[in-house]
């Protein structure tokens, strides 16, 4: 370790001659924070799984893997992820092609609708679809049984198929957005020259367009795959009642059932390792796919492509896509909104059954709910601010200081990308519940630490993007004008990346506000978050209050998104 450190500082120093300057300080600080918040939890999971005291112990791991219930949850996880990826990719491609290459009208409206699933947590969707398609109580099923007199429901959302459907609705924009931007940046002459050479429309799509956007498709599909593999909310809400478990929900159940006992956490850790292995395998697959397909034909500048005329198919296609968008996006939101005003779940959706009582209860009477809103606001703002500054610091070290060991720093900061939230939560429990003389379990601080670890990758990426715009000569110009290193950072670099920092803050604040996966394992009696509160009220069966609270969360998220849009649009306001 000592050798490592002394070598770290034998780099070319660019400014100043002090043995330990500002740059070295920033580097060391970033390294320490990342090791503690990111690396340590991962290491602890491995250690706790494979070691009993100091003794190597494979027994637990094999025992956990071989347990039939765990095996079935592995199969479920992979099966769900596979189908979500398949359907999400097809759906995303279809819309991307329609919007990027056809002359379909109302493109602006459709594009705006597509960004909505991005904003809301998928478990809101699971709640909404549960309201409509739960086998006995769902409104659509009840309507169906009334009309037809049938005793069996139309559709059952509490199935693997239901989980696949809801996750697909929320994850297909990954492929859609990637492919649309690739299509927009593709040189249209490539397609036009094929048409001139006599190729038919379908032939061009198959042989020219599709191969060119393949890397974008692969990237989007892998995002879906990884998100679905580590997803907790939807299978938790739709699967529990029917005993359908995935790896993340199984881990949650193990920890929850053991009520914090050490054996339960160890078993959870062992399952976590399995989940990480699956995700890493998927990431490796992505690397392979992306490596083979690299085309420079897709340029940075945007061009006006030749649009394909849909002619007679225009109206049917428009109807289909608008209708499916309404079903995917608008209907769930509307259901949550309306049920939030309902006197009791199950009553017909008519005006006389509406009330404001749910809001009175959750915002006025329930201390738990009020606490959860305050907690989530506190956690989102503080983790947003802290993580954003941390991201700026790491990005600065990686991009501008460039010490030896910057690669290690970069890997550490991007590691949380590939660690599922639930796994991170277990690691954080293992580190911060007394293993190192600090016990934060059941306090809000343990959640804060988990959020910081979870979102540091976002912050680092967003800060890197804006720091790369600041050419090093701007800082050097300040130095030669008589500013010290610290002054040049304060006067020049920070003001220039301020818009990026504010955007970065919202990129953390918004997902943190609705966070469920990590907080559901970390919350204590007084530290519920908004996501946890909604989830808990919903599982207790207080559907109307859960919907009302979800509506409140939606309102907060919408306001946050508007603020973000306002800030990123108006870049002049430095």
């Amino acid at each position: 370790m000592k050798y490592f450190l002394t070598h770290l500082f034998k780099r070319e120093r660019t400014m100043g001659d002090r043995k330990f300057g500002l740059d070295q300080g920033l580097f060391l600080l970033s390294l320490v924070i990342l090791v503690v918040t990111v690396l340590l939890p991962v290491l602890m999971i491995v250690i706790r799984t494979f070691f009993k005291g100091t003794q190597l112990d494979w027994h637990l791991f094999t025992q956990v893997i071989m347990a039939p219930e765990n095996l079935s949850s592995i199969i479920n996880t992979v099966r769900i992820a596979f189908f979500v990826t398949l359907f999400g990719t097809i759906l995303g491609l279809f819309y991307a092609w329609l919007i990027g290459r056809s002359d379909i009208p109302l493109k602006g409206v459709m594009k705006a609708l597509f960004t909505i699933p991005y904003m809301f947590p998928p478990f809101f969707g699971a709640m909404a679809w549960s309201l409509m398609l739960a086998p006995r109580s769902g409104y659509v099923n009840k309507l169906f049984m009334q009309i037809t007199g049938s005793t069996s429901p139309l559709l059952n959302i509490n199935t693997i198929g239901g989980i696949v459907f809801v996750e697909t609705c929320y994850y297909f924009p990954f492929v859609f957005l990637q492919v649309v931007s690739a299509l927009e940046r593709m040189d249209p002459t490539l397609e036009e020259s094929a048409r001139i050479a006599g190729a038919g429309q379908w032939y061009v799509i198959r042989k020219i367009t599709l191969p060119l956007v393949l890397p974008a498709i692969a990237a989007g599909a892998m995002l879906i795959l990884i998100s679905s593999l580590s997803h907790f909310g939807v299978p938790a809400i739709l699967g529990f009642s029917n005993n359908i478990f995935t790896l993340p929900t199984k881990i949650y159940q193990l920890i929850n059932r053991s009520a914090g006992s050490f054996q339960g956490i160890r078993e959870g850790a062992a399952l976590s390792i399995l989940l990480v292995v699956v995700v890493v395998a998927a990431l490796y697959l992505q690397r392979l796919v992306l490596k083979t397909g690299h085309y420079d034909i897709i340029k940075g500048k945007s061009m006006r492509p030749m649009l394909i005329k849909l002619r007679g198919a225009k109206i049917p296609l428009l109807t289909i896509s608008l209708l499916s968008l309404v079903v995917i996006v608008v209907v769930p939101l509307f259901m949550i909104l309306i049920v939030g005003f309902l006197k009791a779940y199950g009553l017909p959706l008519s005006l006389k059954n509406l009330t404001l009582r749910n809001y009175q209860y959750i915002l006025g009477q329930s201390k738990m709910v009020r606490d959860s809103i305050v907690n989530s606001l506190f956690l989102s703002v503080s983790s947003g601010v802290i993580t954003m500054f941390l991201g700026v610091m790491i990005a600065y070290v990686v991009i501008k200081v460039r010490p030896k060991g910057k690669g290690f720093l970069e890997i550490l900061s991007l590691l949380p990308y590939s660690i599922p939230g639930i796994v991170l939560a277990i690691g954080v429990i293992l580190v911060w519940s007394g293993a190192f003389k600090v016990n934060l379990y059941n306090t809000i601080w343990i959640i804060l630490i988990a959020y910081i670890a979870r979102y540091v990758s976002f912050a680092m990426k967003s800060a890197s993007a804006s720091l790369e715009q600041v050419h090093y000569s701007l800082e050097e110009a300040a130095r030669s004008c008589g500013a010290t290193h610290l002054q040049s950072l304060r006067d020049i670099t920070l003001p220039l990346i301020r818009p990026g920092m504010i955007a970065g803050f919202f990129l953390i604040f918004l997902p943190a506000m609705r966070e469920l996966t990590t907080s559901v394992l970390l919350y204590g009696p007084f530290t519920r978050t908004l996501g946890v509160a909604i989830y808990a009220i919903n599982s207790e069966g207080n559907t109307v209050q859960a919907s009302a609270l979800a509506t409140v969360a939606i309102a907060i998220i919408v306001v946050g998104n508007l603020a973000l849009r306002f800030i990123t649009k108006d870049r002049k306001g430095l």
Binding site: E12, D17, R479, G482, I492, L496
Partner: protein, 358 residues
């Protein structure tokens, strides 16, 4: 008195040596141009002088004070070196207005407020940008940003300014104008200027002395522009300065013979300085404008292969002993003496040739 003195400085990135034991002095009040092909280490030299990078050997002193010396463990930070710098990309801060940009160095040097304003506006007037004081850099053209950068450098240091490839991004007309203005500023204010460029033409127009560097980061020649132009130290400097023709020669005592691909021609009438130290295989170097096409049958025989009219001059490709060389002639002169036709036999005369060892 030398305002900047570099002694045996070496700069390396890891194992890659960019500048190897280079020494140079810059005199007070002069404009020194450092010229060389791209990636020859001239920007590295500037960065070492400004204190942005460390040197691994040697010393740099400014006004007799050592600012960089690894042996003496001295590394004065950039902010204490008092050098005005104009960067290649201008580095005008985009979030500050023009006047704020220029006030910044004065603020950092703790100049009293009213005096600072006065000096900033004076500098702005000097670069003819007074009307743009409240603009943001994004509202200025490249040439205007350039002027702001220059004004900022001027208030930052009234003694020593370093310009790194400052006007290469401008179009030809603006380039000429800026070069003239830089020259003007230097003469009226007496500031010392180090001008770094790969463009030897601009360097010649504005510098008192120039340094030619090569790709290995060594100084090939140092001197006044006209000295360097008239007497390039070696073949590489000769090539670097402009379009060049080289013809192989063989020497026998004082007698020179042009070696053609098929024949050999004696060069009796040619007067060139040859030192006895030179070997026997030589090159005759000449510029296209310094070659005359004659109508007589004596002298070196040549065939005109191609004639191109460029407006103010004619450009010929001429074959001499199987070697093709380029010749240029002023248009008026050519019309007066008769424009050659392609395939015509002429003889050629070298006006200002130089001889280098092969």
């Amino acid at each position: 008195m030398a305002i900047v003195a570099m002694k045996d400085i070496t700069v390396q990135y890891g194992k890659n040596i960019v500048i190897d034991s280079l020494s140079l002095e810059v005199e007070q009040g002069e404009t020194l141009a450092i010229v060389g092909p791209s990636s020859c280490g001239k920007t590295t030299l500037m960065r070492a002088l400004c204190g942005f990078i460390k040197i691994s050997k040697g010393t740099i002193s400014i006004k007799n004070t050592i600012v960089s010396s690894p042996a003496a463990r001295v590394m004065v930070p950039p902010e204490d070196r008092r050098i005005g710098v104009v960067f290649q990309d201008y580095a005008v801060w985009p979030h500050l207005t023009v006047i704020e940009n220029i006030l910044y160095p004065l603020k950092k040097r703790r100049v009293e407020k009213n005096e600072a304003r006065e000096r900033a506006y004076a500098a702005l007037a000097q670069v003819k940008m007074s009307d743009f004081a409240q603009r943001l850099p994004s509202q200025l053209s490249g040439g205007q940003q350039q002027r702001v950068a220059l004004a900022r450098a001027l208030v930052s240091s009234s003694e020593l300014i370093v310009l790194d490839e400052p006007i290469t991004n401008l179009d030809a007309k603006l380039r000429e104008e800026m070069a003239y203005e830089i020259r003007n500023l230097q003469q009226t204010m007496g500031v010392t200027i180090i001008y770094i460029t790969h463009d030897q033409e601009t360097a010649m127009t504005i510098s008192d002395r120039m340094i030619i560097m090569d790709k290995q980061g060594r100084i090939r020649q140092l001197g006044k522009p006209e000295e360097i132009w008239n007497h390039p130290a070696d073949r590489d400097v000769y090539t670097f300065l402009g379009v060049s023709n080289f013809l192989p020669l063989e020497r026998d005592g004082r007698n020179l013979t042009l070696i053609g691909k098929h024949n050999r021609q004696g060069l009796q009438g040619l007067s060139v300085p040859i030192s006895d130290a030179m070997g026997n295989n030589l090159l005759l170097a000449s510029r296209p404008m310094d070659i005359r096409l004659e109508n007589d049958r004596e002298g070196i025989q040549a065939v005109v292969k191609r004639v191109t009219y460029l407006g103010n001059q004619f450009d010929y490709i001429v074959e001499v002993g199987g070697h093709e060389i380029r010749v240029q002639e002023d248009s008026l002169e050519a019309f007066r003496r008769g424009v050659p036709v392609e395939g015509e036999n002429r003889s050629i005369r070298f006006l200002n040739p130089a001889i280098y060892e092969e």
